[in-house]
């Protein structure tokens, strides 16, 4: 079923066929299809769907579509949505909705649920608490495998996952975990205590989501328990939510490395004022820093006006220096983010970049020497000045580009700040100083 087929069935008023064909789809696809319709038709079809499915589809609507639906449904329908929505989706919903809609929603939650929602809203953004949910299967260690399976049979449909079950004591302290695989292959009469794994890897509510993602990647888990300060089980995080976190963390790094304030919002959904605001700060800082480079040029005005041709190589030197530094800093920042490079590797990295820069710098400057000596016919003195500056610039750029992110990390600053734009600005200044020093020396004014 695609959009065209949907419109066709709607036009022909073949609602039964429409309902049947829709219900064969994944809720994600249904939500997308309904997104093409006007709000009233959307509501019409939404109401046709089986109740459980309808709530699942609702969870995949955009915030705007959710707001429209809530504004139009009856109290009874809203109650159903509130009751059936997974808790993490509910918290997300409340975060996105305007105050009057939130009020309308919370009328259908009891006191206990409202308190829990408030507690969840307080977890810092990007913390484990902010991405966990409460629909997990908990078991007692005294139960038998048979009891546990029966429990899952009854309650399983309303849980975010049943594939990892959590064993807690009466104070909600986490005692162990047991996978559904283990339950299914175990003997019916064994107790949970016999088969559970007591060495549980868990995170705390206030741990950073980046660290949570690293644990998922390292161990290949499907779910991870989250405990509070008293080590009581407060929720679980499932792997599907972690894939979003991985993307989001990479996106943040992309943004920071391009000298922007990071933002979680999608590009097309962000207002131009916000986008401009995210960008102008760093541009301003870098613009003002670049005047330092300008001052260097001004200081050497005499050199430049006696050998005017030198000016024409400034863009090439600046760009190549910036690009060289950018390459090294990108690899190191990414390596640090993925845990492939650690702080203790700093000397190894510097030594590696030094040798690479010699190879790269040498190739570039030899090619450059012959190109400008033979093609531009600039004379050997200028050619030598430009090429040796190029070599030194590439070396400094690569070693600085690799080292600064690691220093930042050591100082607990985000390494992604030490990326291309900042490195370029620093390398620009250095390369010009080198350029003019060599020029004064070789060309002997």
């Amino acid at each position: 079923m695609d959009e065209r087929r949907l419109q066709e069935l709607l036009q022909e008023k073949k609602y039964v066929t429409l309902k049947n064909e829709l219900e064969e789809l994944n809720p994600v696809d249904i939500a997308e299809l309904l997104g093409y319709l006007d709000v009233y038709t959307r509501l019409l079809i939404f109401r046709m769907l089986a109740k459980d499915l309808a709530v699942e589809v609702f969870a995949h609507f955009t915030p705007e579509e959710q707001r429209d639906i809530i504004g139009l449904v009856t109290d009874k329908e809203l109650k159903l949505i509130v009751e059936e929505l997974f808790f993490d989706d509910m918290v997300d919903l409340i975060e996105e909705m305007p105050a009057n809609i939130v009020k309308k929603i919370l009328r259908h939650a009891n006191k206990e649920e409202r308190d829990l929602i408030n507690q969840f809203l307080k977890y810092p953004p990007d913390s484990a608490g902010s991405i966990m949910t409460i629909e997990y299967v908990d078991l007692k260690k005294e139960s038998t495998v048979k009891d546990a399976l029966n429990h899952i049979k009854r309650a399983g449909l309303d849980k975010e996952t049943v594939y990892t079950c959590y064993v807690t004591d009466n104070n909600r302290k986490l005692e162990g975990i047991v996978s559904l695989r283990k339950l299914v292959i175990s003997d019916e009469d064994e107790t949970i205590e016999d088969i559970m794994d007591e060495d549980v890897i868990y995170v705390h509510t206030h741990d950073d989501q980046e660290m949570v993602a690293a644990i998922f990647k390292r161990y290949g888990f499907l779910a991870l328990p989250v405990v509070d300060k008293e080590n009581r089980l407060t929720g679980i995080i499932t792997v599907d939510d972690i894939m979003d976190v991985i993307d989001q963390e990479a996106t943040e790094d992309f943004q920071k490395m391009a000298a922007m304030a990071p933002s979680e919002e999608k590009y097309l959904d962000t207002s131009i004022f916000d986008l401009a605001k995210h960008r102008v700060g760093w541009l301003l800082i870098l613009m003002i820093s670049a005047t330092f480079t300008g001052n260097i040029i001004r200081k050497f005005e005499d050199v430049l006006s006696s050998v005017v041709i030198l000016t024409s190589f400034i863009p090439m030197l600046m760009d190549t220096g910036g690009n060289s530094g950018n390459q090294s800093s990108t690899l190191v920042i990414r390596g640090l983010a993925l845990g492939e490079i650690e702080l203790k590797d700093v000397l190894k990295v510097m030594w590696k970049e030094f040798r690479i820069s010699v190879m790269v710098g040498l190739s570039l400057s030899v090619i450059n020497f012959f190109r400008i000596y033979l093609l531009d016919k600039v004379g050997w003195a200028v050619a030598l000045t430009v090429s040796s500056t190029l070599f030194i610039t590439v070396m400094i750029a690569k070693v600085l580009g690799a080292t600064l992110p690691m220093i930042a990390k050591k100082l607990k600053i985000d390494p992604a700040i030490m990326a291309g734009p900042l490195i370029t600005t620093i390398v620009d200044a250095i390369s010009l100083m080198v350029y003019f020093s060599i020029a004064s020396w070789i060309i002997k004014f």
Copy 2:
């Protein structure tokens, strides 16, 4: 248990305690710990572990550690490893090992297995086939739920996942899927046909892994079936392998966007020759392109030598232009990669960037005007020349930076190529032409 404890127990020769404490850990952690030891001690402990666990630990060794172990174990031990290793780990192993080790391994595989390994080695890198495995649970639609659960009970331990089971006909054609959750909550006597989901989302062996990752993210699946050209089930991909793919695809984009040839190898594991090779190509292309910018300067030598101060603003103009373009291209490239921006949005994006660039460009150039007029005391003509060039440069940079990646995508070139370094080179040339044109006009030579 940490490295120190491990060394302590080794020194005191408390092998029983060592074995017990190790076996409580996750295989990933055991493999890491054993990595700290010399190869003989590693083998000693490896041999102490329970057989199943040992093979799991083996799968998490680095290729080097795997090679060492294979070189030292007996034929019988190697046979066990070959038999028990998951098929995708086996294929990875064979890809990493030198020829003599591969020969040694393949002696323990029967003809059928060898053929299958050869078939898997032929899937293109980065294809669905290259990341799938064959250990899935397959069911027949005539079976009852009870039969199916018994089948899982018997075979479940050797499967990569039991949480999604695949229903195939006698020709291995995929007919449906059924989750373990569904099996557990269903009635024992129901047939698989009654409860299976027939609308299966699947991929083909030659589909790109990036597209596979997008499906996992969209639907939150734990596993995805892979079929061949005749729609026969040939393997499954599990979510844990997809997390690596997501990281890998982002890393590739980081590398391309920093003007490097992409590489899957970890930074510290890559030789300096390879690293230099990945970097020098683009640097060379960009260096030579930058001479075009140099030529522009040379053409306007007269302008520059009569108002020498103009030269000192070139770095600031070039950097700000490059940074502005880099911001826009980064957001658009990332948006395209995540599917948040589509080709049909091109006009929307251009219009958005145009308005942002007016805001950003205006703020920067007003601040710049007063700064250089009041602080540098350059006179209004120069201040106006520099500031209006800045404004126009930011505008061109942002619109170009956002548009070029989309044009690249349209032309089926990787948008990540159209990132900072290339945009900078293009914007440099344009901004200098604008600069000198305005200068000639305002300052009237």
